[in-house]
Symmetry: D2
Subunit: 439 residues, 4 copies
Amino acid sequence: MQQEILDYVDSLAADLQHWRRDLHHYAESGWLEFRTATLVAAELHRLGWQLQMGREVISAEHRMGLPDAATLQREEQRAIEQGALTEWLPHFSGGFCGLVATLETGRPGPVVAFRVDMDALDLNERLQDDHRPFRDGFASCNAGMMHACGHDGHTTIGIGLARTLMTFAAQLNGTLKIIFQPAEEGTRGAKAMVEAGVVDEVDFFGAIHIGTGVPAGELVCGCDSFMATTKLDVDFHGVASHAGGRPEEGRNALLAAAQATLALHTLTQHSGGSARVNVGVLRAGSGRNVVADRASMKVETRGGSNQVNDDIFARTQQVIAGAAAMYDVEHHITLMGSARSSQPTAPWVRFIRQQAAQIAQITSRVDSKNQAAGSEDATWMMERVKARGGQASYLIFGCDLSAGHHNEKFDFDESVMATAIKTLTLLALNIDQYREEEK
Amino acid sequence: MQQEILDYVDSLAADLQHWRRDLHHYAESGWLEFRTATLVAAELHRLGWQLQMGREVISAEHRMGLPDAATLQREEQRAIEQGALTEWLPHFSGGFCGLVATLETGRPGPVVAFRVDMDALDLNERLQDDHRPFRDGFASCNAGMMHACGHDGHTTIGIGLARTLMTFAAQLNGTLKIIFQPAEEGTRGAKAMVEAGVVDEVDFFGAIHIGTGVPAGELVCGCDSFMATTKLDVDFHGVASHAGGRPEEGRNALLAAAQATLALHTLTQHSGGSARVNVGVLRAGSGRNVVADRASMKVETRGGSNQVNDDIFARTQQVIAGAAAMYDVEHHITLMGSARSSQPTAPWVRFIRQQAAQIAQITSRVDSKNQAAGSEDATWMMERVKARGGQASYLIFGCDLSAGHHNEKFDFDESVMATAIKTLTLLALNIDQYREEEK
Amino acid sequence: MQQEILDYVDSLAADLQHWRRDLHHYAESGWLEFRTATLVAAELHRLGWQLQMGREVISAEHRMGLPDAATLQREEQRAIEQGALTEWLPHFSGGFCGLVATLETGRPGPVVAFRVDMDALDLNERLQDDHRPFRDGFASCNAGMMHACGHDGHTTIGIGLARTLMTFAAQLNGTLKIIFQPAEEGTRGAKAMVEAGVVDEVDFFGAIHIGTGVPAGELVCGCDSFMATTKLDVDFHGVASHAGGRPEEGRNALLAAAQATLALHTLTQHSGGSARVNVGVLRAGSGRNVVADRASMKVETRGGSNQVNDDIFARTQQVIAGAAAMYDVEHHITLMGSARSSQPTAPWVRFIRQQAAQIAQITSRVDSKNQAAGSEDATWMMERVKARGGQASYLIFGCDLSAGHHNEKFDFDESVMATAIKTLTLLALNIDQYREEEK
Amino acid sequence: MQQEILDYVDSLAADLQHWRRDLHHYAESGWLEFRTATLVAAELHRLGWQLQMGREVISAEHRMGLPDAATLQREEQRAIEQGALTEWLPHFSGGFCGLVATLETGRPGPVVAFRVDMDALDLNERLQDDHRPFRDGFASCNAGMMHACGHDGHTTIGIGLARTLMTFAAQLNGTLKIIFQPAEEGTRGAKAMVEAGVVDEVDFFGAIHIGTGVPAGELVCGCDSFMATTKLDVDFHGVASHAGGRPEEGRNALLAAAQATLALHTLTQHSGGSARVNVGVLRAGSGRNVVADRASMKVETRGGSNQVNDDIFARTQQVIAGAAAMYDVEHHITLMGSARSSQPTAPWVRFIRQQAAQIAQITSRVDSKNQAAGSEDATWMMERVKARGGQASYLIFGCDLSAGHHNEKFDFDESVMATAIKTLTLLALNIDQYREEEK
């Protein structure tokens, strides 16, 4: 039986490639996955999955880093022109491009959920012959949006998994869920889905990623090295005046930002582990001879533990408020993203490791991955699942890359998609063999 | 005779309005006055003035704040489309839009020179019915360029003056010059003309401005309150790195800029008089999670005296170099403009006052103007004239304004143009009455 | 008659020298003039002046920069050992070393008041033979206290004036007052006397100084160049922690002080005139490996006008509060001194000039003095007198100095004291000749 | 035999207490251990150990954080008055208070060396009845010096160990060394001994500490958590000027220090592990109204690895030089101390663990200790021993403390001294049982 399933997945290769390249071509950045979401919805509906969509699975008020209304509208229009299915679009309109597909087997068993993400990066793809997507005609046709992190692959894995599980639904027990998340880049989307309750009933949870420097053939069964992070935009608003003629009438937002910047970078000594602050972008002032009345900063904090990040974020807010007060300017902080640090649950990691041993393409299995220093908002889902007594892990499927993630030349070996589908399928198929205690 | 001349100027009113409104409509920013310069050249050539143009009157290496080559090329093309005279254009091509017109009377006498400026501001003009230039159809047709400081009027005064002087050339003695300067905004253009030697033989020099808050009917005969200033662009160039993963590999240009900003603003205590520094614009960094490898600042220094400004500018350079060294980043300073503080010469101011007394439209005459705190690069010309033993002054012709200078609603009472032409004409006409000593 | 008076003053020379050298030897710093005050009190009482002393003429709550209680007690004891007169000491005990002497002539006439100050500087006097006070045995015997500004001379002038006026009391009209002020250094004492009302009834007020770079023989009749100033001590109080082991538990007062310092020095651009801020002293932290929980700063602001200083002081308080908030530390500001900018009243300056013309030793008279940039708290008295309709000025008697003020080698030509007494006496004697309008 | 030795150590209890309390009473801070060193020298000479002293074991040029000459001289005098043995004193005079005692058994075998330190802290001991040393009459009689870290115990352990080893010398093989180090506080002394070559021939090295939060009865066999550190003093030297009158003539050392302080605290983000910078003390300026010409800072850097600390120290130097350049002031950096991070060698740690198992008082043995974040300069010795092929470890003997280290109420349970002597004696006695490979 199991071999039949693995063979079935192999048979999907051409379809997977087709899907992935289509998604790659029509890359859509976070909260703007209008075309992507309608195609996923149509396909999973066709396969027979029950769907929850848009506001059902995304808490409006917990969305972070949402594009402005004009952008949302313009991009929805663009999506329509690029083939978004208008019968499904209303669900996602206004920046609600997430969906959860559910398969109730009718047989007893746990709820097993997998999360994939769908968004591209705000990046221009390389349009040169040394880059396969361009050479083969599937480079992004959307300026400033590129699948340079592999989420096109993730979404495709989700679709392939949906097809496989439905095909072999008779062999499954309990409930299966596939979560298609928007806006993972910038760690903006997961929290809003968690707040909508999408993982509240989940017993076993797995989020996935491909690549990330893991060698081809290797599976990281329980990545535990994500840093907790908070992303924030800061605006200072003062009073402009002529710098030569009436300097004392100005309230200098640029100076407030400069002071805040220096102070923020002094916050990173913490005995609890790694601590980071970065003022990555600063824009201030309008003219050489004008006291700057506006300054904005893009800031992120990170911590090796949730506590460290929470501490630093609390102090970050103090610093910003104090710097504004120093220069008698107003300030505003907008939360743009956040993720948690999260430890995978050990028995579930062991189970993943056992199941993966049955897949020929996986030649090496490790429990964890050192020194990532990256962040991932699936951690919000992991933490919620664990808080409610479930098991959670984060799987990384190693594969060959043409360039590092977030690079304009990023591309990946598409065979990893089948490997991932096989792994997730076996986890669902054999979940009744899961044991809490180590043998 | 004199009354005849004054009447003649009054007869030019319609022509002056026409000229001014044409220039206003086709506003051209600093170093981009291609159309303007060709029209001035053609008209003065027609009148019989000898012309020196472009590189003859502008030292290429001393130009400051020049737009980039692409902009120069694009705007020259735009000028052609808007009626620039292609037979004259080669003189000005590449950002050399200045000219000096000379009238040798053949009779003994001093060299008397007047300067007018031709550039618009980088500003969008108000396109609403409450703004006369829009209502009457002569608002700027060039986005981001607007005559909001009155230089359209100044250029027109120059043309009207040329016509008047040529008409009455038989009554004049010595040599007359009219200097049409580009790029006064940002104090970028005058020094390059001075370095080309355009005022080296001048005995009597007058630069003019209209408005600036001086009441209609009043003439400031010797404005002495301009602050010396230096405009500079600063670039810091460091090394980017992932702020979470490899922070120690970054060399943070944003932090260098923040330190420099604070330090620059501490330099303004000076016993020699008013002292100013402004970091008006700061742009740094590319992404929230990237250690910023680039930062740029638009800075200006000012001083109530040349010494104060020179002191502050010297320390500004130290601060910037030191801040770069602190963070192990490179830095580059580009001079973008500069002007001097300059005291008018007293006998010449007295002479201006006497002559102006004969003009009915000038109902009040004052020697100086308090507390401007602005800057003006005609001061470079004044200082050069004085250094070579000449007399120099700066005249401001009061007039009603619809809004402050540099405002999108700026407009002025066009009758001031005739008043200015009359004044300058009398100065030229009666220069033989000039006496060094006060009577 | 007048010559008789001038001759009388000349006859005091030996006494004046004796007084001055005694005061110089027993130099007493601000608020610690216990011995000085008792000697002045005894002498003026002997002469027949009415005395108001201590709390009668000093508002306790308005004293600034008072030494701590232990110092006050110790120095009072020291004063007793050095000959302070214990019958008068209770009036001044606890830091109330001021007195006002009044002579009511019983004849109609205005209230004329002169102020002298009595305090030494916190400085060690030079104890070398190249310094006359040491050579002649009257250098300060009190470590850390030295009359290096000439207030010993001022006090002596006050005493000599008291003697002269009483001797010729029959020729005087109205009311005469001599104000002996403590703690002028640091501009700490005058406000407390003003708040006690000592100049509320004064019609003509003159404060004096000797030296200050004015040439011997010259009198500045109306010094107008004092800057308004505020002196403040700032304390930040955070939380200490081990810098290696628990950095996040610290609340770093040193960093707050560093941020505040930079920000304070950015406040000095003002179109209203000269503006100054100086963080002159910063002391922070207790150990290399401890997050600093304490920081203190000695700060002063100055302004060419009262408005400028008030603006800067207001912003200074904002900066300090904001910096403290940035680092979550507490802060406390203590007012340590203050003085005003004050313009002398013109008719009174003219009168001073006229009267001084009759004194042979005054060979040059000028109205004002340029570019002092110093501060003086007699300005509080001037402003109060003017606010209540009186006339006020500040007189500087030029004299030869051995070194600049506040220098360990400071000494002055003692003959200036008689000149000052003569001048003030003539002002009192001839006050009935005062005319409001210029002749 | 072994039991006999252990019993012998128990018999020393009264002597150990006597020694320790004498050292505690005459506490001597780093580089000033004159009395202590002479007493140790006399006793070990008496026992028959060969001694190397002073300049033989301390490289003059590598001493860090040495007190000034006046202090050295004064404290040497003080030591004489307190019983320092003048026949031994010349060896240590001038700040060379270290010694190395050697016992050559004449039998083949390795060189085994143990290090103890002798210095007190710059701290006033609590003089209240709630503090045993005061109650029992052995509190420090030297103001500002207190054994608040247990080095009095360490020195006593060294002496007791010397006595024990000599008593049982016939049972020993190879060579034994005991290193008595000065100035461990501030990590100032070890490097100078290493540079003098004192551990160059050592095969097995152990440094010890008592307390540090380890529970009584527990032995940490190989503490591996010391942070690498560098201690530095920084001096900025500018130009003073009158802050009101001539601000532009000043070169502000205080502002340079403020900028440097902020920048130094931004250096602590490093992917290589914990990173620390602390400006613990800042002193700047002389008067409120004077531009500060002097500023000094006490700084330390730390790193979880030597690389991290080296990186941060390199950047620290850049920051300081750059800040000085910003304000045109001079700077000087003085190295005041340094220590390394060092991993104990595993086979030696295992051997220590095995031997300690034979000592009844040691009820718990652990290999390492988490999260100390402290620093210790014995690491310089460990690194040198390892670099030359030897084995090195750092042992911590848990014991009850009355208060934390560096606290004015610090005291410890003196029975830990015998336990330490027993452990070190067994290591020496049984060194022939040492095996490289784990069994």
